[in-house]
């Protein structure tokens, strides 16, 4: 979460402390649709994973992004077992 906050804060140009799971375009002014894509792109690079188009479009809050990352983690662990 710490790294994610860092990534998001950098793109949105706000303080990390102002970011939590409920952060969204609703409550952060600089979070526009373009920055939304930048966040996804940077997170993809960091976690070496890809969102599907559907998942990108479904992102409404930071929590949504976290859920996608978690679902990939689960797939990976299942895969190795």
């Amino acid at each position: 979460m710490k790294e994610i906050k860092k990534i998001v804060a950098k793109i949105l140009e706000i303080e990390e402390s102002k970011i939590d799971e409920n952060s969204s375009p609703e409550n952060i002014e600089s979070w526009d649709s373009f920055n939304s894509l930048m966040i996804v792109s940077e997170i993809e690079d960091y976690f070496k994973m890809k969102f599907s188009t559907e998942e990108i479009l479904a992102v409404k809050t930071l929590g949504d992004i976290l859920r996608v990352i978690k679902s990939r983690d689960l797939e990976n662990t299942n895969g190795t077992k």
Partner: protein
């Protein structure tokens, strides 16, 4: 230095105005380009045309573009947005129709560019169109006379022809850039569909780096002189240790990366880049390679200045600038040793220091990636500059002015570890006596068996030193062999690999020996300097370390340190 330079510019309000005209979402490029420019201390004001309004901006006399009055304009058009279905499914149309559409689009763009050039005298950089990577014609695609690849290729060719004799217009080769990025890194179809972003975010970041090639000459940041190290840069290995026959340089196997690297450098010389050498070496060793090595591509008359000595590289660099009478901000410095690079970066921030990778196979690529030698046009004088400076070799010297060298060394965070009579390292210890020529007081060579005898003997002490600094571990890189008598110790051998020279480790090492001697109530330490052709770097050491000259036998000198 960099900060103050930037501060100055900011105060003067001298921002470089850049416009980007596009037919797709490219907002991220403004941010990336601004960041890249700031890295180079160029403050920019970047405007992006409103979504897809590149043509309106050019046609409308009172548009934001002309009000902004940029010094440089980048025009980047996505082929899919430019041609629509003629690009997505070109073979749904017949060949003549396809050709007609391509011709029309080209004329439109040609007219826009002509209009733009008439109205503004900024530099204009147009990205060529991206070639399709696949086609429904499959293996027959390139047999189509009016095939899609052919048409895009012709379009780009015509674009380039427009620019050939036009000092204002430049064509950025999109396909070349895409080759470097790899197509799958270049586009991100998801983002393309979601937000009409035709370039991936990573491609945009790298595109900004590519654009610097146009920004540098605009800001008079073009570099003139390439300053080179020698050992492990122009050839593999250390000539002072392995000799002219032992260095890696030639058309085969492990000499080839250096051989090719030199050819690339010669090519730069031939296009007017001044070459100079800044190397820690014995002059004779280095000159022997330059003059007599069969595969040495760069010759004496390619270098405008040769600084081959044991001075630090910063002093040498200042001297080169003085002798050639060009500013330090015109220099590019290439050295395989990160601590030398750090030294130059720290003391001469205006010099462009290239971070050479450890892998020689990558050297050529690094040179190709340098975007600092670009000019908007090459005059005959530019082309001849390298030779001119060679002809004008002048000698004038600058006084040493490096009071801060000690603090730099402190910052290197040099750490060492000294081991007494360590049997584990016998083979390396023997090897280092065999190979070390430069910083070696007596140049005595020993075999593993002989080293073992020293270690086992009560009368000898073998001290080896492992050294590391913040750039990495140099491993076992120094050695002292001491003969122990009742009241006096005698230094039989004392040497350091030249990789670790310039960090003043020799003084710490000798202090350690002095302290040991003291703790064992020894009255003094005797040491000798036996000169060879190669060990001049060690000549002054004993004197500097507080030893007193007590006698001379022929060329050999004997010293004593009284405890």
């Amino acid at each position: 230095m960099k900060i103050t330079e930037l501060d100055k510019k900011l105060k003067d309000g001298e921002k470089l105005r850049v416009s980007i005209l596009s037919n797709f979402t490219i907002d991220a490029l403004a941010k990336s380009l601004k960041e890249e420019c700031l890295e180079e201390c160029i403050d920019t004001d970047i405007e992006i045309s409103p979504y897809s309004q590149y043509a309106q901006q050019i046609v409308e006399k009172t548009s934001a573009l002309y009000k902004f009055s940029p010094k440089i304009i980048f025009i980047i058009l996505d082929i899919e947005n430019l041609l629509g279905d003629f690009f997505i499914s070109p073979y749904s149309f017949d060949g003549n129709q396809r050709e007609k559409v391509f011709n029309e689009r080209f004329e439109e763009i040609e007219n826009l560019l002509k209009l733009l050039e008439k109205r503004i005298n900024s530099k204009i950089v147009v990205n060529s169109l991206l070639l399709p990577i696949n086609s429904s014609k499959g293996i027959l695609e390139n047999k189509e006379e009016k095939g899609i690849k052919n048409l895009v290729g012709n379009f780009n060719k015509k674009l380039e022809n427009l620019a050939i004799n036009d000092g204002q217009l430049f064509i950025f080769d999109t396909n070349n850039f895409c080759m470097k990025e790899g197509y799958s890194n270049f586009v991100d179809k998801r983002f393309s569909y979601i937000a009409d972003m035709k370039l991936s975010t990573s491609a945009i970041k790298n595109l900004a780096k590519e654009y610097l090639a146009y920004i540098f000459p605009l800001e008079s940041r073009t570099k003139k002189c390439l300053v080179l190290d020698m050992d492990n840069t122009l050839w593999g290995g250390i000539v002072g240790e392995v000799g002219i026959g032992g260095i890696k340089l030639g058309p085969n196997s492990d000499g080839k990366p250096f051989y090719d690297f030199q050819k690339k450098i010669l090519e730069l010389f031939e296009r007017g880049i001044i070459l100079a050498i800044n190397s820690k070496n014995n002059l004779d060793d280095a000159m022997e390679v330059i003059r007599n090595h069969k595969y040495m591509i760069l010759k004496e008359n390619n270098f405008a200045c040769l600084k081959i000595n044991w001075q630090d590289k910063v002093t040498n660099m200042i001297e080169i600038a003085k002798e050639l009478n060009i500013g330090l901000d015109s220099f590019v410095f290439i050295d395989d040793d990160p601590s030398n690079r750090e030294l130059v970066k720290k003391f001469l921030p205006e010099v462009k220091v290239v971070d050479l990778p450890k892998e020689p196979a990558l050297y050529c690529g690094v040179l190709d990636e340098l975007k600092v030698f670009n000019l908007f046009n090459l005059t005959n004088e530019d082309l001849e500059r390298g030779k001119m400076y060679v002809d004008q070799k002048k000698r004038n010297f600058l006084k040493d002015s490096l009071d801060d060298l000690n603090s730099f060394i402190e910052q290197l965070d040099v750490k060492y570890d000294i081991l007494d009579d360590s049997k584990k390292e016998i083979s390396r210890i023997a090897q280092i006596t065999q190979k070390t020529n430069q910083f070696n007081l007596t140049t005595k060579r020993y075999s593993e068996e002989e080293i073992l005898k020293f270690i086992d003997s009560e009368n000898f002490l073998v001290k080896s030193i492992r050294i590391k600094d913040k750039f990495g571990d140099y491993g076992l890189s120094g050695l002292a062999i001491i003969r122990k008598a009742k009241d006096f110790w005698e230094i039989d051998s004392f040497l350091l690999s030249c990789r670790v020279l310039g960090k003043k480790i020799e003084f710490s090492f000798i202090d350690e020996i002095k302290n040991d001697a003291k703790s064992q109530n020894i009255k003094g330490i005797i040491a000798r300097f036996i000169p060879t052709k190669k060990n001049s770097p060690a000549k002054a050491f004993l004197n500097e370390a507080g030893f007193k000259l007590t006698g001379e036998q022929g060329e050999s000198k004997e010293y004593l340190f009284e405890i």
